[in-house]
Every structure is written in C-alpha cells, then in structure tokens.
Amino acid sequence: MTYLAKPKLHHPSLTRNAVGYTRRDYEGKVSTLCAGCGHDSISAAIVQACWELDVEPHRVAKLSGIGCSSKTPDYFLGQSHGFNTVHGRMPSVLTGANLANRDLLYMGVSGDGDSASIGIGQLVHVIRRGVAMVYIVENNGVYGLTKGQFSATADAGSVSKKGIKNADEPINLAALALQLGATYVARGFSGDKQQLVPLIKGAIRHRGAAFIDVISPCVAFNNHAGSTKSYEYVREHNEVVNRLDVIPCKSEITVQYPEGSVVDVEQHDGSVLRLRKLAADYEPTDRIAALNHVLAHEARGEVATGLLFVDAGAGDLHEHLNTVATPFNRLGARELCPGSAILDRINASMR
C-alpha cells in the first residue's frame, strides 16, 4: 500500500494571501485516515480558514491527544509548531504553552474519545479557565481506532454498525462548553465547509476559549442506517441557527441586510462576526438561551449548528491572572530569574 503525496502542481489561478502564501502552503502531509473520513474535511477547512485570515504558519501551535482526530494535525499546517500529547492531556499542555508564549495561536484538535472520555477532566478546566485557544472536537461518536465501539458522545438509542443499540446517555459537548463558560461556542458539520470555514475563522479571531464541536462522520464504523452521526442523518437533521461571515475590519462592511435579520458582533481586534439569522429569535449572545436551544434540539433528535454563542468582550486566562504581557521567550534572564533577594521578599510577604 502506498500513499502518494499530493502532487505539487496546482491550479494556475492559485493566489497568494497577504503574507505571501498560497492555500497549498497551509497543507500538511497526505492523510493516512480512511478514505472519506470527515476529519480530512475539517483539516481542509482549517487550511482554508488560516489562508483566508493570512495566518502566519510559524505563529501557530497545533496540539492534539490520541485518536484518529489527533492524528490530523499532521495533515494541515505542515509549517507550524505541533505537539502530540498523551491521551486526553492536550488541554494542560496547551495551557502551559499558552502561559509561556501568549503570542501564538493555539489550536487544540481532539476527538470525542480524547475529549469526552479520557480527557474530559482536562477539557472542562481548560474551558473554565478561559485559555485563549481554538479547541476543535472532531466528533464522530465512535472509537474508530479500536474498530467502532460507541464513544461518550454517541446518542442513546443509536445503533452500531454491528446492530447494537447504545443505552448510555450522550455528553453534549457544545452544551458542556456553554455551561463551563466558553466565550465562543459553535457547532459545525464536516460535510458543510461553507458553514465550517467561517466558524473556524471566527474562533481564530476570538480572544478567549473558543470551542467548536464538529460532527465528523466515521465512514468506516458510523455511517450506516441507525447512526445519528452519519452524513445522511446529519444532513437530514441539521438545524442551522445562523450563517456567519467573518469580516476582518468593521469598515469593510458594505452589504446591508434588513433590520433584525442580522447580528453584528464586533470582536476585540476590530473584526466583525456578522450573523445572518436562520432560526427566528435566536440570540447568539445569550448563553442560557443558547443552552436551551441546543438541548431542546437534541431532545428532538436534531443537531443545532452554527455560531451558538459568542461573548466578544470576554477576557482570557492571562487577563484573569494578570500575567506579564511579554512572552517568556522574549524576557531576559534577569526578568525570568530575578534572584534570591526577590524570592526572599515574596516569601516574606506571604508569612
């Protein structure tokens, strides 16, 4: 079995972004996941989002745990920093890295096993603390690497490929993130990149804990009749609350929509999240309403997708801890190790 690298030849019209890269420059190695895996679409969406936002690849750290999902950082942003942690421990490594160098863009990529089972303790705390990051869960409802057992996000009543009905209640990751205080919560579907790319772009531009639950069908073990995470099921039960456009700068807003049909949310960096309402009366800045909406749809067997909640004025972990503005790698030895006299003074102040 051979895996060919994607040929370097490209479309003649391929263009460069403001930092001089083509979209192809944001790709990684060729995927070794099963053909048709939703995760590959998510990788492609990340590539597209980073290219569109002129992200400099060397200013990105991508971190992951263990699982099919956690292999994917090898398949995008081949020129960025990467860290593949032990199972379920990506959030704490990400937190540490973020504390040491607050200038990078942190992208945590995980799956439903890594985040909702073994790593759920880490997940809840990284969100609570408001670590500035883009946390993407590639959620397929099964353990693909071990041949398709139900994961903790599989819906009760859904049927495995072998015909067994799931009796356990699912963890609703979007609802969990809402409850834990994430300041940007979205849900996407790997089969709809037009929706997913803006959601990722919005998350990249968000300062604070941005969490995206992406339903990502497992073609090998969870794409059959009776599954609630198959391409077909999600397409039929997808209830899109809004369509997002990420507009880099407020002055660039040209298209006007009728009153009441659009919500503009200005972020701390001046970019604007423009939400075109699809569900009437959906209010993406109301956390409790969002939680209700998500859970109500879940109860009906529907999947609410879109930008579910955003708090553009939120602060992050650094603000909460009042840390130094300069990343450690740019501080000198004197600042990092001020000497025993300072230590003595600190110790004395605590007696």
Binding site: P7, L9, A35
Partner: protein
C-alpha cells in the same frame, strides 16, 4: 447544465488532448507508458498502427499534439515556462530503440479480393492508403515519378533532419505488404489512367509547385534565384552541391528553414532568412526557427521583397520595404509601410520559399472531376471522394499544403472510403472509433498505471557538435534521447487517457475528493447554466475550450462538477473516495481503419477471388 454523456466517444477523447489534436488520433499516453516500461517495440507498433511513419514523424512531425498537451497548462506558474511533454521526441525513442519489428508487421494478403486500386504519388497519403488496403486483399499499385517512394519526405526534407535509412525502413514496411510499386512512372493523364479499369484511384501527389515571386529583376537574375522546394530536391539528387557565400532565403515556413540550414552546409557563410510577416506569425514550427538561429542564421521579419538587384544578370542583392502590422476592427492584419526607406541586403543567391501550390496539369478537366475557382479539386472533407466517387484525394493534393501527419490521417480516411465503396456501402456513414474502457483499480492505493506526478522539467534533445554538422549535410543534427532521459520524460506524461469516471449513485458527498484534488478541479454545487457555473467552482473554470463534466443530481440535489482543464489524472479523488464513486478508467480509443470493422455488419466483404501467386 445537463449531465455529461460519457457514452459519447468524443467526450473522453477530447480529454486526451494530445490524441484529440493528432490528426491520426495516435493514442499518445498509451505508447508513452509502453516506453516507460521499456517496451519500445510495442510502443512503436501502437504508433505504426495510427501514424504509419513513427521514425519519420518522430523527427519531422509538426507536433499538433504538443501545444495541446495538458502539461503545458498545469506547469504554469510552477516552472519558468510551461512545457508540454516531448511527445515527438518520445516517438523517435520508440523508433530508435525498438529493435527488429519485422515479425510484427502484417503479412501480405493470402488471397486477393479482385479489386484494383491505383495511388498516384508515393508520399505519406498514398502509402497510408496502400498500407491499409493491401493486407485486406486489394491489389494496390503506387505510381511515383521518382525512383524511390517517400515523396516530399525523401526529396525535400533534408538528410540532416531525416536520415535516408529511416525512410527506406518505413516505406519498406509498406511496400513489403504486396504493394506494386512503379517508381520512375509519372502519371501524365488522368483520363488515360481511368481507362485502365481501376476500381478506385487515390491521388496523393502533393502540392508540388513552389510559389514564385514576380518582382523586378526576377527574370534577369534568374540564374541565381531558385524555387525552394525544387532546390531542396536538387540537393537531394546531388545536382546542387554548393551555394554562394551570401544567401537570402525568402519565406517563413518550414521549407524556408530547410533551405537556410541546407545553405549553411553547402558553403553559405552568411545566410539570412527574410520574411514579410512578424517573427511570431511565421508558419515554421518554433523549434525549426530555434534550430536555424542556433546555426547562426538571423531571421529578419516585417520586410517585403521589392526587387532583385543585379549587375547585367549577376545578382548582387535585394531591396526590401520595411513594414509593420496593423489590425483592423475585425482583427485582420494589414502590413503597412513604416516609411523608413528601402533596405538593401547584398547576396549571391536567393532561395524563394514563400509557399507551395497545388498543380494538376495532368488531370483533364472533362474527366468528371470538378475543380473550384482556385483550381483545387472539389473534395468531400469526410470521405475524400471527388465528384467522381471512384477518384479520391488526400494529403496536400486534397486541401493544400499541410504536413505529414495530416497526409496520414487523410490516407486512413480515404482507405476507409475505398473499402466501404467497394463493399457497396455508403461512404458517408463513417465508422465509430473502437473504444476500450477499463478500470485501473488494483487495491485501495494501487493502480495499474503510475499515478505519481513527476516534477521533472522537459529536457533538450542533444545535438551532434556543430563543427561537424555544418560540414556534412547528411549528418543528422538531433541525436534523440537515450533510454534514461526518455524514461524521465515519460514520467512527465499525465496519463490523460486514464479518465476520472463518476458514479453519482454511489456518492455520499463526504468532500474527500474535493479536498484532496491538487488542482481544485472538483466542486459539489447546485446546478446552473454553464457560463455562470464556471464562475463559482472551487477554482474558476476559465478555459472554455475544455469541458465541464457534470453529474446527475446527488442526494442533496447538488451536482458534482469537474473542470477537465487542469486535471492531473493522479487518481487521488478515486483513492480518497470511500465508496468507489470515482474510478480511474483507461480509455483506449483507436480510430477504425479500413477492414471489416469499418463496414456495417450486414454488408459482406469483397470475396476473395484470386489467389496471390
């Protein structure tokens, strides 16, 4: 848009740009793969079936395939200059390295079918007719004014481009099929020929008359002024062995290039090509112009010849008016004097290569063959029949000067017409091509073709050292690729005949193919009108000459759209497809030649009536 009908044989044929562009529709990627596999004789035979003269064409073809080659589109912005695959060079490699292929050639017919066909002229068109018909049992007689067969290929194309043994070999393969070759026999009267009871007469006598230039001084200095194609023939026959030191060649076609390069080898130290049109519009192939300039021959453009200047009949030079091109609203070019005053170029001899004309003084106008106002026979472009259905025309004789590969294509079509006509069939019903479609899938990531896309750049063919080639008019300049270089060049071929075939019913719309496609040529989108659809694909489909492959509606009512323009045929869409909705299928198309396949099934073949002694 309506869903693409891939059952139409033309649809996938057009995707194989090189094969579609080749007048004889040679299955180019197929023979390139055979060369890559070291199967040179097989590659040669694939060529031989289609274009009859692989060794000759591998050196002299006008290469319509190469400007069409997809590689020349997708390399854009990747290398300095997009370059097509060196298809013609590879053809020569197959011919050079094939070894002995005589065993593979068809045998002369065991029995004759009683039908007699005369071919006038032994150029590529007539020889193709003979090759296609003789093995079927037709008694084919080829009349040729010169002693040997080959026509223009032998007498006008210089030996430093095309060595004589190559011609002897490939003409020989045809004459060995039991063809009656009558060398040294010029047909002087069509009427007389028609009295001999031929079942069909094929005229492949070329465009043998070089155009002259009637300007002041032409008659007075005639001793030093020659018609290019006649002069080249004289060089071939050894009547001309030297030329003046300063030579002007008039004209911008390949004959002009052959004249100037021949002059360089016969004592012309100062040879110039002077042409009316601009350098870019010259008819000569770009590589022929390059070769001439490489041999120190300047090409001066936008100069209209005004007069031959002579001193009592001794040519001393020529004057030219300098012009520039102006285009009217309809885009028609007009050459307008620049007003700079005439330019004088001193010279000892002038070769006029400003075009060729057809000449049929030997066809009486009352023998049932209609001619048009320009003195050209009225010929059906599909059947090649004249107004007398048993007289057919092909090659330069049919529609004016073209080149060898067109003559071959005409020969095949004329042979089909003759075979159908003499089987009592309607010649206007043309046979469909033979098409084989075969999946290349061998495993999840394995294909029976090499789908890795090479980043190799096109290589230059090595030349014999110039200090030797300019001294010996018979020494071939181009040496051809060696096997190792040829292999690298084969890898540049994108296997455009391995088609992406889509089965919409199997598609689950997972986007895997769209994501992996290196050239962004796939899109799943709501359907629309073509012009509008082309603008909203993953990458805009700007090349309107290349088709969009549109599927039937998918489950979400969207359609799969593929822009054929830039597809690398790498098969990654099929590799990443979880359901096998994409498959890579080799599409081997062969035009139907004369023989049972070109006739309708009901019609009986001409019965063998006469055993060959």
């Amino acid at each position: 848009m309506r869903a693409t009908d891939i059952r139409d044989p033309d649809y996938f044929h057009k995707v194989v740009d090189c094969q579609w562009a080749c007048p004889a529709h040679t299955p180019v990627p197929e023979y390139i793969r055979l060369i890559a596999a070291g199967r040179y004789a097989d590659a040669y035979m694939v060529n031989w079936k289609s274009n009859v003269f692989p060794g000759i064409l591998g050196r002299t073809c006008d290469r319509p395939c190469e400007p069409a080659c997809r590689r020349g589109r997708v390399e854009e912005n990747n290398g300095d200059k997009p370059e097509p695959v060196a298809i013609c060079r590879l053809k020569r490699v197959a011919a050079d390295l094939k070894g002995d292929v005589s065993e593979r050639m068809p045998l002369p017919a065991k029995a004759r079918n009683g039908k007699r066909v005369a071919c006038v002229g032994a150029g590529p068109a007539s020889l193709t007719v003979a090759r296609d018909l003789a093995p079927l049992g037709y008694a084919v007689t080829v009349f040729e004014a010169d002693a040997k067969g080959g026509g223009f290929m032998r007498t006008q194309v210089p030996r430093f481009r095309l060595p004589e043994p190559v011609i002897d070999e490939e003409v020989g393969y045809i004459l060995d099929l039991g063809v009656d070759f009558r060398g040294g026999t010029r047909i002087e009267s069509m009427k007389q020929l028609l009295t001999q009871g031929w079942d069909a007469v094929f005229v492949g006598s070329g465009a043998p008359r070089g155009r002259d230039l009637d300007i002041p001084g032409r008659a007075e200095a005639a001793a030093h002024i020659h018609i290019g194609i006649d002069w080249l023939a004289s060089v071939y026959f050894g009547h001309v062995t030297k030329v003046g030191k300063r030579v002007i060649v008039l004209g911008g076609g390949n004959t002009a290039m052959d004249c100037c390069r021949s002059s360089r080898r016969l004592g012309g130290d100062e040879v110039k090509v002077i042409v009316r049109s601009g350098f870019e519009e010259m008819k000569a192939s770009p590589w022929e112009k390059e070769d001439a300039m490489h041999e120190g021959i300047p090409i001066l453009d936008f100069r209209v010849p005004k007069a031959f200047i002579h001193d009592n009949g001794k040519l001393i030079g020529m004057t030219f008016e300098k012009v520039r091109a102006e285009y009217d609203a309809k885009g028609r070019r007009k050459l307008v004097p620049t007003g700079e005053g005439d330019e004088f170029h001193a010279c000892d001899e002038v070769l006029i290569a400003v075009g060729q004309e057809n000449a049929f003084p030997w066809i009486e106008r009352d023998c049932g063959i209609d001619f048009d106002e320009w003195g050209m026979p009225v010929v059906d472009t599909a059947t090649h029949q004249s107004s007398r259905p048993d007289v057919l025309f092909g090659g330069d004789a049919a529609f004016g000067p073209k080149n060898i590969i067109w003559a071959v294509a005409h020969g095949h079509e004329a042979a089909v017409s003759i075979d159908k006509m003499l089987s009592g069939e309607d010649t206007h019903v043309r046979p469909l091509p033979a098409v084989q479609v075969m999946s290349q899938k061998m495993g999840i990531h394995e294909w029976s073709y090499d789908n890795e896309v090479s980043l190799e750049e096109r290589r230059k063919v090595p030349w014999a050292p110039q200090e030797r080639t300019l001294k010996d008019i018979k020494l071939e300049v181009e040496l051809g690729f060696d096997a190792a270089t040829a292999y690298k060049e084969t890898q540049r071929c994108l296997n455009c005949d391995v088609q992406t075939v889509f089965a919409p019913k199997l598609c689950i719309e997972c986007d895997a193919c769209v994501d992996i496609c290196p050239v962004d040529c796939l899109t799943m989108t709501p359907n629309g009108e073509e012009a509008e659809l082309r603008t909203r694909l993953t990458a805009p489909a700007v090349n309107a000459t290349q088709a969009l492959y549109v599927s039937e509606a998918l489950a979400t009512a969207r359609v799969m759209v593929k822009d054929e323009d830039v597809c690398l045929h790498c098969g990654l869409c099929a590799e990443r497809c979880p359901t096998g909705a994409w498959d890579m299928q080799k599409y081997l198309l062969e035009t139907t030649k004369a023989g049972p396949a070109c006739r309708s099934k009901a019609a009986p073949a001409p019965a063998p009536v006469e055993a060959v002694a």
